[in-house]
């Protein structure tokens, strides 16, 4: 592979490969330090960024970071690359591409046309030259719209995944969190459960339960049980009412093998979901999750930096026309993203790279208890993602996932973001919230002590009745 050389201030700097140059140019990250690929000084990092800025975008087509013969993701990226779509920027360097993206030439229409001409490596490279405000600004210009039972990703909209996890998959416990979420106006991206086990019978039962709730309350949203794609296929074969097929994915063939998947298996999963033909508005039937550091954690990173590898996962995602893709940015832990500062930047990079590649990008704004991060850090990332036009975030009671043991955004957080930035839920879901008496745009939650009529019976069914809250209201 070609050596990359740059002369600055009378000194010559060498980077052995394009991958090494990309890694050295990547903003500081504990995962790259763990992998031994990070710049060894602050100066070296900026020198690498300068060298990267000079590099023609076509270099990424000529010098694959992982050899074509070794990796099916590389083959996917290069085989699918659209030279015609690439034409408007084919003559640019990475630095010039940054300028192009920030200029008036880049708008939602030109960016949409460009997406098939971009490779993950080009997108990752330009992100390394960008500040947070650049990532926000360009991310906001991109428009990626997907449909199943509603419409996700329209401008001025912010959707939420209602995540009603329970540590033993207890039906009533899950239902309690679903009710809480719906009454806080959450759930238009998906009502999605992470089951505590991969047990197929449990998965089938949960899918039936979600299907029944969605149809009985006539909620314009979709459901998902986030289990391995092979389990989802088996559940479909057993007749489970499946809207979306889920899978965690990564940016190298070897890392995906660590997840027990390959492209052929994902194709099979998608075909199984499509065969049910359940989406009245559209056929986006896949839901993917990603996160920087997953390839290294599977010892499958090929000496590359984690942000570049993450962008390659979006090439996997877009192949299958998903409804939803989100980075689970702070879930992996401090060995990959050490603190709030690293998590915030990574979340914005991931959103930027995904959207630029044409992926319907959301973000699980999150952290674990062994990371140097707290609610203040999440508020910063949340607010910035709202400004960047992020398609959806998670919604969970009080930010506390009692099954996965991490903190993500709450139902209240989404209300905050909608209030501050004037964002609305998906249109079909917004109409349901209004007619149900739950929520109105510009007003917020539309009821106080008395439950909306659609839900009044549920507390009675529990034998609880309505609680006298007269002292508080």
């Amino acid at each position: 592979m070609a050596e990359h050389v740059i002369d600055i201030g009378g000194r010559r700097y060498r980077f052995d490969t394009l991958g090494a140059l990309m890694a050295a140019a990547s903003p500081r990250r504990s995962g790259d330090e763990l992998a031994g690929v990070a710049a060894t000084s602050a100066e070296e990092r900026v020198i690498a960024q300068m060298a990267l800025a000079e590099l023609p975008l076509t270099a990424f087509l000529e010098e694959p970071l992982i050899p074509y013969e070794e990796d099916e993701i590389t083959r996917l990226i290069l085989d699918r690359h659209d030279r015609d779509a690439f034409a408007p920027i084919a003559a640019l360097s990475v630095g010039e591409f940054r300028n192009w993206l920030l200029s008036e030439r880049a708008d939602s229409r030109s960016l949409k046309a460009l997406a098939p001409g971009l490779t993950p490596e080009m997108v990752a490279a330009v992100s390394k030259l960008m500040r947070v405000q650049d990532l926000v600004l360009v991310g906001r210009k991109c428009e990626v719209v997907t449909r199943f039972r509603n419409t996700i990703g329209l401008p001025g909209r912010l959707s939420t995944r209602l995540q009603p996890n329970h540590p033993t998959d207890d039906a009533s416990g899950i239902a309690a969190s679903i009710l809480d979420g719906l009454l806080y106006a959450s759930g238009d991206a998906v009502i999605g459960i992470n089951p505590a086990t991969d047990n197929t019978s449990t998965v089938v039962t949960l899918l039936k339960m979600l299907d029944e709730i969605i149809s009985r309350y006539e909620i314009p949203t979709q459901s998902c049980v986030l289990t391995h794609v092979t389990t989802a296929i088996e559940a479909i074969e057993r007749g489970a009412p499946t809207d979306l097929v889920f899978q965690s994915i990564a940016g190298t063939e070897a890392a995906n093998r660590g997840f027990g998947i390959d492209l052929a298996l994902l194709r099979e999963g998608r075909e199984a979901a499509l065969s049910l033909n359940r989406g009245p508005l559209g056929n986006n039937v896949m839901y993917f999750e990603t996160g920087q550091g997953s390839a290294l954690s599977a010892d499958a990173h090929h000496g590359l930096d984690q942000q570049t590898l993450e962008a390659r996962a979006y090439a996997v995602a877009r192949e299958f026309e998903p409804l939803l893709v989100n980075t689970v940015v702070g879930f992996i832990g401090p060995e990959y993203l050490f603190d709030g500062k690293q998590i915030i930047r990574a979340g914005l990079e991931d959103h930027f790279c995904g959207k630029l590649l044409g992926v319907p990008m959301g973000c699980d704004v999150c952290y674990t208890n062994h990371a140097e991060a707290d609610q203040d850090d999440m508020d910063m990332l949340l607010t910035l993602l709202g400004a960047a036009g992020c398609s959806y975030i998670m919604g969970i009671p009080g930010s506390d996932d009692i099954m996965l043991n991490y903190q993500t955004t709450s139902f209240h957080d989404a209300l905050y973001l909608r209030q501050v930035l004037g964002l609305r839920p998906a249109p079909e879901f917004e109409a349901w919230l209004e007619t149900s008496g739950i929520y109105r745009h510009d007003r917020g939650i539309a009821f106080d002590r008395d439950l909306p009529s659609r839900f009044q019976h549920v507390l009675g069914a529990m034998g609880l009745g309505t609680v006298d809250t007269g002292t508080a209201r």
Partner: protein, 273 residues
């Protein structure tokens, strides 16, 4: 946290959610109420306190002095081993070191020359020593009879400090075990700083991938009960022997608790139509 704690004395600014009583169904923070669309003060501070406690749990040290006699009493031999991570700070930054044995531990294992066995069990601090302190022995007392019923032989047990899941691979390999069970402290959640995880691996050896393991998560009194987790482990052991493998190829098709019903009824959101 009880309802009382969540009543802010603010003359009607806080909206209370009547469904907060559904909290008897889940530990999730439902029905927190709201001020405008935001979190009321009491709920906000309750969260901060739980986060502070979970942060402290990550840094609690494993009490090996207390655990070794309990393990000695239950296994033919109990070993006390360490990973290559020397302290918690290095452990958090360098998961690779937590997956490898210290040189001293390697020498100790090499000196044993064990008989081949069916099952090697490792008890590992992971991210919550508290989970090991509170759940490990009680779970073993439920699981060991299950293993005996299956007619499987136990190798030495290893108590490991600063360890990650994959450290069970070189240990199981050195102990010539057909399968490995790693009990490890899961990362502490706000409501569960004491949750035990179990990772089951057929034919343990260094370099096994995560997709080659099966996981049983959230073992603790308020999560998955010891007896249920032990039964599930027994199922995995039987299936792994039949298939000669573990991980994604070994689907969990065991019968589930019928409390889940058929999904279309059986909870308050779906009363009989």
């Amino acid at each position: 946290m009880n309802d009382e704690d969540l009543h802010d004395g603010d003359a009607g600014i806080t909206v209370i959610n009547p469904w907060q009583r559904l909290r008897e169904l889940t530990d999730a923070r439902i029905g927190l109420g709201r001020v405008g669309g935001s979190l009321p003060t009491a709920a906000q501070l309750a969260f901060q306190l739980d986060h502070a406690r979970a942060r402290d749990a990550v840094h609690l040290a494993l009490d090996t002095e207390r655990l070794m006699p309990d393990l000695d009493a239950r296994f033919p031999l109990a070993l006390r081993l360490q990973s290559r991570a020397v302290d918690r700070d290095e452990y958090l930054r360098r998961p690779d070191l937590g997956r490898r044995l210290s040189e001293q531990a390697e020498q100790e294992l090499a000196a044993i020359t064990p008989e081949p066995c069916d099952v090697s069990i490792c008890v590992v601090d992971g991210l919550s020593a508290r989970a090991i302190h509170e759940q490990a022995i009680a779970f073993l007392d439920a699981a060991l009879p299950e293993i005996e019923r299956l007619g499987l032989s136990l190798g030495p047990v290893a108590l490991v400090e600063q360890g990650r899941v994959a450290i069970g691979d070189p240990i199981g390999e050195a102990l010539k075990a057909r399968m490995s069970v790693v009990l490890i402290g899961e990362r502490p959640g706000l409501s569960s700083p004491d949750s035990l995880g179990l990772y089951f691996t057929w034919a343990p050896q260094s370099g096994r991938r995560d997709s080659e393991r099966n996981c049983i998560s959230n073992i603790r009194p308020r999560g998955l009960r010891y007896a249920n987790a032990a039964r599930l482990l027994g199922y995995l052991m039987r299936e792994a022997q039949a298939l000669g493998t573990s991980g994604v190829a070994l689907k969990d098709d065991s019968e589930v608790d019928s409390r889940l019903g058929d999904g279309r009824q059986g909870n308050f959101l779906l009363p009989p139509a």
